[in-house]
């Protein structure tokens, strides 16, 4: 097992280096560099000004040298400074964004799971009754609504018109930090993030439960005189949840995409907002740092999943 973990870690490291080369090349192939992002085309600057900027950022060095310098520094944990932010180190900047993104994604998924499973069960139990039909229609609307639409509509109705929630940010500007304040800012983007996922989970839960409710063991439970509530909850739902859990796992990746968009609309200071900003300003060090941290997280999760499978299912041989 230890050999397996060591081998996977070594492969992961190589993948990270390959990823860094790929991002480095792609960034340089994209039109415009950080200096181009810094120039306001309406405000005249001299070439001498531009040279000053280029010299300061080391962008006048040959590309292989730039990459090697970056790699050697990164190996020691030094990802350099953000180009567009004076004096801000990349690694702390990236690390402090993981928490807000995890909070937004986590809250959105928790809401989606609770709402999706509850409405899915209710819909299956009341099959073809009007609540089932109404929830089915709503779920189709939820699945079909793109994140940018729900985010903007939600922002307009709940922040601008009704003023139930702040329009953006993670805390009230100027107010001291408090968990309640963060919660107030979290609730709207998290609810909006959950809509599509809740709708999908609801559809899966309904279909799965309907299938299970026709199984013999459910009929047996009823015949034994078990109350209907417990038949649904203990006997049917537990079995119906298995495919839903698989679905939830696979939607986490999609949730990252939705979170990135919502972070932009709601100015939520997570990885998504950081990356969108960095790409828009061609902030190479931040793009490299953020992408590598995300890549490292994905590789780590994959390794942990493989190891967990090996522990849980003895039929899987790690060798």
């Amino acid at each position: 097992m230890l050999n397996f973990i060591a081998r996977r870690c070594a492969t992961g490291l190589l993948m990270l280096v390959a990823l860094s080369v790929l991002i480095f090349i792609l960034l340089r192939l994209a039109p415009g560099d950080p200096i181009d992002a810094y120039i306001n085309p309406s405000v005249p600057m001299s070439t001498s000004d531009l040279e000053t900027l280029r010299d300061r950022l080391g962008l006048d060095q040959p590309l292989p040298l730039q990459y090697l310098a970056w790699l050697l520094a990164a190996a020691t944990g030094d990802f350099g400074y953000s180009i567009q932010r004076s004096g801000v180190l990349v690694l702390p900047l990236v690390m402090e964004r993981i928490g807000p993104t995890a909070l937004l994604m986590g809250a959105g998924l928790v809401i989606a799971i609770i709402v999706g499973i509850a409405t899915g069960i209710y819909s299956a139990v009341r099959r073809n009754a009007w609540p089932d039909i109404a929830m089915s229609v709503l779920s189709f609307v939820g699945i079909s609504s793109p994140a940018f639409l729900t985010a903007l509509l939600g922002l307009y109705f709940f922040s601008v018109l009704l003023r139930w929630a702040p329009s953006g940010g993670m805390q009230t500007a100027g107010a001291p930090f408090s968990a309640a304040d963060v919660l107030a800012h979290l609730i709207l983007p998290a609810c909006l993030l959950s809509i599509g996922h809740a709708a999908l989970i609801m559809r899966y839960m309904r279909a799965s439960l309907l299938e299970v409710l026709n199984q013999d063991y459910v009929r047996t439970a009823r015949a034994k005189g078990v109350r209907e509530f417990w038949v649904i909850i203990k006997h049917a739902t537990r079995n119906a949840l298995l495919p839903v859990i698989t679905l939830i796992g696979s939607t986490i990746g999609i949730a990252v995409g939705g979170a990135i968009f919502l972070e932009s609309v709601f100015n939520w200071p997570g990885m998504g907002l950081l990356l969108v900003n960095a790409v828009g300003t061609r902030d190479y060090p931040v793009i490299m740092g953020a992408t590598l941290v995300i890549g490292a997280c994905v590789i780590l999760v994959n390794i942990l999943t493989d190891v967990a499978y090996a522990f849980v299912d003895p039929r899987i041989q790690v060798s």
Binding site: A30, P31, G32, D33, P34, I35, D36, A37, I39, N40, P41, S42, V43, P44, M45, S46, T47, S48, D49, L50, T52, L53, D55, R56, Q84, R85, S86, G87, V88, L93, L155, S159, V160, R163, W164, A165, P166, S167, G168, G169, M170, Q171, T172, A173, G174, A175, S178, A180, D181, A184, S264, V265, N267, P269, L273, L274, V276, N277, G280, T281
Partner: protein, 524 residues
């Protein structure tokens, strides 16, 4: 029962707690999107490397001189007054009594330190080239500064209005090479302005506190907040939700506020002339007749009326300020028949015909898209087939500044803008033949002798009484030679809550700085 209790508790939290949390701002506070829009530069704290954002920076730093709110003349800030020697080579500034936010006295040594730092390329300063004419900075006593130039420079005072004075006692110990990456700028900066830096919450907002000892009087509000937004639309949402009291808005949004009694619309000249740039490295535009045809083919008044709601001035040269416009300019009134005739004379059918020509722009707003579509349609009517291409600013700059031999056809035509005031010299880098890359900003590679000579003459003019006439000659040359198809100078907009009192904002290029007097701003 337990579930019901939890539900009631949750309802109470949502029903009563959250609105209280959202509105919790006990000190008298003004919050705004001061870095939203083309004049802003969000998340930049170092005035030496700023290409914008001076509206916000000048709430806690100050220059020696700044523009008045109408952007018509310069007035004193940290300099109470100034004198210029007869030979226009020595500027003597009489400094105001002031203290830095950390209590240390502000003196002429700080001014000397700042200008020497701004001239030093090692500090990353973007002023190094523009301050190149400074021969020496002397501080004969604590309240006097003498700046000597190596040659007269008519733009000198305008340039130094963006040099925000920095504290020598706080920065002298940091090597110039390390200054750009110093955390001082965003953690513990000290200035002399009416507000002092309190904190920066990364990518969210900056909070300033009133400087009670400010020489202009104690500020009327306790806290000033600059919130960051990804785009003007997000700032508009925050404004309508009552979370901020001011922001820049796009013209379309401004129209929706005009009938709302809770807001006042602030409208002002953008000081940016919009134009269709005609790349002189592309053979198509070497013939003056073709350039004239483009001017006659575009119905600028119709576009201004329909897409700008009349809030733009047609430009027949790079300027629209009355004192810079000479008599007898050709107005190039919309005349598609004349345009067609000129194209026929130029042999357009042979030199290009209906082959597509790229019209590149970095303007990404819906209004700009409509302008591009209108221009495309009007040019198509006379037989010029342009294909609009919208890219982001870095991509645009990457294309037009590309070193070596760029693909000229990639930016054969551009829809762009350039600062034309308050200092008219702003157009020189984009039009003078001496400014062709890699030596300057003339990305359309315009090499018109008459125009360049007019610019050189105006830039070298030190007699204030002859200055307007010199810039009028530039206008005349532009109107005759048509280096660009000049379009208009549009208005820009800010929206302020009617709760704000004595609030001053103007859409100055790069955000100013100008005399906004933030110490007088109040909120009801």
């Amino acid at each position: 029962m337990r579930i019901r209790s939890l539900a009631i508790a949750a309802a109470l939290l949502i029903g009563t707690g959250l609105p209280t949390i959202v509105q919790a701002q006990s000190p008298k506070t003004i919050a705004g999107g001061f870095d939203v829009g083309p004049g802003g530069l969000p998340k930049n704290f170092n005035p030496l490397i700023s290409t914008g954002g001076f509206t916000w920076l000048s709430t806690y730093y100050e220059p020696l001189l700044l523009w008045n709110a109408g952007l018509t003349e310069l007035e004193g800030a940290l300099a109470k007054d100034y004198k210029v020697s007869d030979d226009k080579l020595t500027y003597t500034f009489n400094l105001a009594e002031e203290t830095w936010h950390d209590g240390k006295p502000f003196t002429s040594k700080d001014v000397k330190f700042t200008f020497e730092l701004a001239k030093n390329k090692a500090s990353g300063s973007l002023f190094a080239a523009r301050l190149g004419d400074i021969a020496s900075v002397e501080a004969p006593d604590d309240r006097t500064v003498m700046i000597k130039l190596s040659k007269p420079n008519g733009s000198f005072l305008s340039i130094i209005s963006q040099v925000l004075i920095l504290p020598e006692h706080a920065l002298a110990s940091i090597a110039p090479e390390s200054l750009a990456n110093s955390t001082w700028w965003s953690t513990t900066p000290v200035g002399t302005g009416p507000f002092k830096f309190n904190r920066y919450v990364t990518d969210q907002y900056v909070e300033l506190a009133a400087d009670d000892d400010y020489r202009g009087g104690k500020p009327k509000v306790d806290v000033l907040i600059n919130r960051y937004f990804e785009n003007p639309a997000a700032a508009v949402a925050a404004l309508r939700a009552g979370e901020i009291q001011f922001t820049y808005v796009e013209p379309d949004d401004a129209a929706s506020f005009k009938t709302d009694a809770n807001f006042s619309v602030i409208e002002g000249d953008s000081y940016v002339v919009n134009y269709i740039g005609l790349n002189q490295k592309v053979e198509l535009f070497k013939d003056l007749k073709v350039r004239q045809a483009i001017m006659y083919a575009i119905d600028r008044n119709a576009i201004i009326e329909s897409l700008y709601g009349g809030a733009a001035k047609p430009a027949n040269c790079g300027y629209v300020a009355p004192h810079l416009i000479p008599e007898g300019l050709d107005a190039y009134a919309y005349d598609p028949a004349k345009a067609k005739a000129l194209l026929d004379e130029a042999g357009w059918a042979n030199i290009n015909g209906d082959k597509p020509i790229t019209l590149l722009t970095y303007y990404g707003s819906p209004q700009a898209a409509n302008v591009m579509a209108a221009v495309q349609s009007m040019l198509a009517q006379v037989g010029i087939n342009v294909v609009p291409r919208v890219v982001d600013t870095p991509t645009y700059n990457g294309i037009v500044y590309k070193e070596g031999t760029p693909d000229w056809n990639e930016f054969a035509m551009v829809y762009a803008g350039l600062q034309n005031g308050p200092n008219p010299a702003g157009l020189n880098p984009g039009l003078n033949k001496s400014q062709i890359p890699p030596d300057g900003f003339n990305t359309m590679r315009i090499e018109f002798d008459g125009l360049s000579a007019a610019f050189d003459k105006a830039l070298g003019e030190t007699d204030a009484s002859k200055l307007d006439a010199a810039w009028q000659d530039v206008c005349k040359a532009m109107n005759a030679e048509l280096p660009w198809a000049t379009l208009w100078v549009a208005n820009r907009y800010g929206i302020a809550s009617t709760r704000l009192k004595d609030f001053v904002w103007t859409p100055a290029p790069a955000g100013g700085p100008y005399a906004a007097h933030p110490e007088r701003w109040d909120i009801q």
